[in-house]
């Protein structure tokens, strides 16, 4: 356990932990973060992690190949459950991405300084999660080589996509989201890429970083324009945090399927997305910061705050579940009651449902306690439980509502096949591989932003004002 506060202040008030270790200096911070991508040796921990990810990536390769050869029949889909793992995994991955955008955009607008040390990393996580998410709907089309039909373009057949379908809105929402996220992430990287260029000894590496830095020299003009660009991008990205998962929730909610058609879906999907996103941020950051010795930059303040955001969003999700259940009864609609109460709680998938309640509603309650938030091992386990819970939530929503059609003669059971699991585990491999590559080649923490948090920088800020 680490020291968590900078001490009591005179009146007994316990302030939150420091956002950066006060003993750090400009030079030490630059060294600490900037040396990780440039160090010539390959750390055993890194190569192990990378190889695990890379091996899982091969599972994805295999699963996709088998799928392309044989078609979506290799998945567990049937009638009535036409949306299985593919949609579950898609929604899960998109949700995970949300934390990065929230941290980098909304927390920037809210002037939260604890954002600085974890924004870069979380945004990278966002990009990789969106990449994993994108795999599923494209493959789910059955003929992914024709996936461009999803886009509206003038064609000789005069055929247009169905603009009234939220699935098409998804195409626009996700592609916009990916574009803005990449831009935001890259713009934020530029000053640090220049730092890397200046620090690199190897000519080739210097050249690569230099090209990517787009001629950044750190002049006042450059900084001025940088500030405007990042504020504008933050403004653009902020509605995206909300809109993407709102539209994902519309995929379900605008239908008239019991368990899907409910008005609380948009805010509760967004909250669920942020919930799983922050859980994933902690899942990755807790081991990384201790492996690379970044505790002085990613402090207990960050851990506490991420855990608190998890608690808040977890409670919103719990609120959503309770509204669904209460209104299902209150509505008096027999289909709603059957689906949300009888079928979910006592049906053939009751185990998944109660596991979901345990993971998503019971587990986060532990985060009320400071002791839990400070126990990194326990917290880390908790974040994994929450991510399992968020996966189960989508499973419960998708599968339970579909497997009972309006006509009992159309009822059927669903379960993922080995190829469903293969593709899912494969995307975990893709994600892990990309994360490990990222921390090896780019500074995972924004050096120039963290420098602004140093006591010296704060003092000069105040002098200016």
């Amino acid at each position: 356990m680490e020291t968590t506060t900078s001490g009591h202040n005179q009146a007994g008030y316990v302030p939150p932990p420091d956002v950066i270790d006060r003993s750090e200096t400009y030079g030490s911070v630059t060294n600490l973060i900037g040396s990780i991508p440039l160090e010539p040796r390959i750390r055993p921990g890194w190569i192990t992690g990378f190889l695990v990810g890379f091996a899982l990536l091969q599972v994805m390769l295999l699963s996709v190949t088998y799928l392309l050869v044989h078609g979506t029949g290799v998945w567990g889909l049937n009638i009535p459950v036409g949306w299985g793992f593919a949609i579950v995994n898609f929604v899960w991955w998109v949700g995970i991405g949300h934390a990065g955008t929230l941290i980098s955009a909304i927390l920037l607008l809210l002037k939260q300084d604890w954002r600085m040390a974890i924004a870069r990393f979380s945004e990278a996580m966002t990009l990789f999660a969106v990449a994993c998410a994108g795999v599923f709907p494209v493959l789910h089309t059955g003929r992914p080589w024709l996936a461009f039909w999803l886009l509206p373009y003038p064609n000789s057949m005069q055929i247009w996509p169905q603009f009234r379908s939220p699935l098409l809105w998804d195409v626009f929402a996700i592609s916009t989201y990916a574009t803005v996220s990449i831009l935001f992430w890259y713009v934020g990287l530029i000053p640090d890429l220049a730092t890397m260029r200046d620090r690199a000894k190897n000519k080739l590496i210097k050249y690569i970083y230099g090209t990517l830095a787009l001629g950044w020299r750190g002049s006042a003009w450059h900084w001025h324009r940088y500030e405007i660009a990042s504020l504008t991008l933050a403004g653009l990205a902020t509605p995206l945090v909300v809109s993407v998962h709102t539209i994902v929730s519309f995929d379900f909610a605008v239908s008239v399927i019991p368990g899907w058609h409910t008005t609380i879906f948009p805010p509760y999907f967004v909250a669920g997305a942020v919930y799983s996103g922050f859980a994933m941020v902690l899942t990755l950051l807790i081991p990384l910061r201790s492996y690379y010795g970044l505790q002085s930059v990613v402090t207990m303040r960050h851990i506490h705050n991420c855990a608190k955001v998890m608690l808040a969003t977890g409670l919103i999700v719990g609120y959503g579940y309770s509204m669904e259940i209460f209104i299902a009864w209150y509505s008096g609609v027999e289909y709603e009651q059957f689906m949300l109460i009888t079928e979910r709680m006592t049906g053939p998938y009751a185990l998944q449902y109660w596991a979901l309640i345990f993971c998503n509603v019971i587990t986060p309650q532990f985060l009320w306690f400071r002791g839990v938030r400070e126990n990194l091992v326990l917290l880390w386990i908790l974040t994994i439980v929450v991510n399992i819970g968020m996966w189960l939530e989508r499973y419960v929503i998708v599968v339970i509502s579909l497997h009972r059609d309006y006509l009992p003669s159309s009822w059927d059971m669903y379960s993922g096949t080995v190829w469903d699991w293969g593709l899912y585990i494969g995307t975990l491999g893709l994600f892990t591989t990309l994360i490990f590559l990222f921390i090896r080649v780019l500074p995972m923490i924004a050096i120039f932003e963290v420098r602004m948090l140093l006591p010296d920088a704060q003092k000069s800020e105040e002098k200016k004002a």
Binding site: H8, N9, Q10, A11, G12, Y13, V14, P15, L109, L110, K111, V242, T246, F250, A253, V254, S255, V256, H261, T262, T263, I264, F265, P266, P267, L311, L315, Y319, G320, S322, M323, E324, I327, Y330, S331, G332, V333, W368, E461, E462, A465
Partner: protein, 400 residues
Amino acid sequence: MNDSGTLPSILTRFQQRSLLVGIAALAASAGALYVGDSTEFYKAYLIGFFLVLGLTLGAMGLLFVHHLVGGAWGFIVQRMLEAATRTIPLVAILFLPLVYHVFTDAHPIYHWAEAGAAAHDALLQHKAPYLNVEGFAIRAGVYFVVWFVLIFLLNSISRRQDETGDGRLSNRLGQISGPGIVLYMFTMTFASFDWAMSLDPHWFSTIYGVIFVVGQVLSSMAMMVVMVPLARRNTDLGLAITPERFHDLTKLMFAFTCLWAYVQLSQFLIIWYGNLPEEVIFFHLRSHGGYEYFAIALVLGQFVFPFLILLSRWPKRSMKWAPRIAAWVLFVRYIDLYWYLMPHPEPGTHEAHLHFHWVHVTAPVGLLGIWFFAFLWNLSKRPMLPVNDPRWKEKLSHVH
């Protein structure tokens, strides 16, 4: 600091006038009751009640948020928010006529409360364990007890801290705020089901409670933007309120405006797209028979205008213009509640018709008048800034 606890003269004048206007308007409204327009009176009264409840509980919600995140904006308005929450005894008293109405009126505005209403209505029979007059009263009691306790804690801890300067109390305020928000969300959700959604006992929507909470918080935030420039004259607040901090307040108002539009659109789009008769009736009633003008006014007035104006930087920083926009937002809260609570199908049809009655104006004005008097009276009792809070002292050493 010596003039702490005194209101600027402009507010003192406003305080006296609002009491006079409030009493006069309520007396006039009682006239409507006397001549037998009980339904019109109580529906108008309900609108007024939700307005004052919103200003009270919205303030409580903002205080919780403030104690959890601790931005400088919160310290500026903390005392005003506290004063607003301390009107809760008045709000509880103002609720009693509704209880009386539900228990005694032969044709209460809540159809389910009518004797024998469930006899030929299978849905009402199904809901009877929840929708019954005793449950209505007991649950209301529970909500008010919860709100009393939370508001008492917020105010008494803050007061003790002011007197003792004990920093541990700042941590205490943060600790009660997390559970406080949870309790606020759940009690207000069910209160909105009981007091508003059950006006049409067949209709239901899972986001309904969220919409009410967001509306309450929006109205409290708008009231703060109106109040800060008025209250800053001859108080400590004048020194503490910088353009940056005022800007933060208006930015939050802007954010809540967007949030309001978001939750309303969520409900509308999902119900309209699904087009199930038992749900879409809500929007059918509210887009015909004269209520469509309210709907359009709401979209433009509560979202489009404030959004477009507040998108720019200068109106958000203008102590002259931002309060005017905020006052407008507060006014549109009335249109919002009118549009939510008033439409009622004519007997035997699925159509509602707008029919305006003067009590629709006087009852809300009356309740608001009395509430503002109580609010300003509370405000004059305590210092305008939590100067002994260590968190605030820390803010003073920073630029923003």
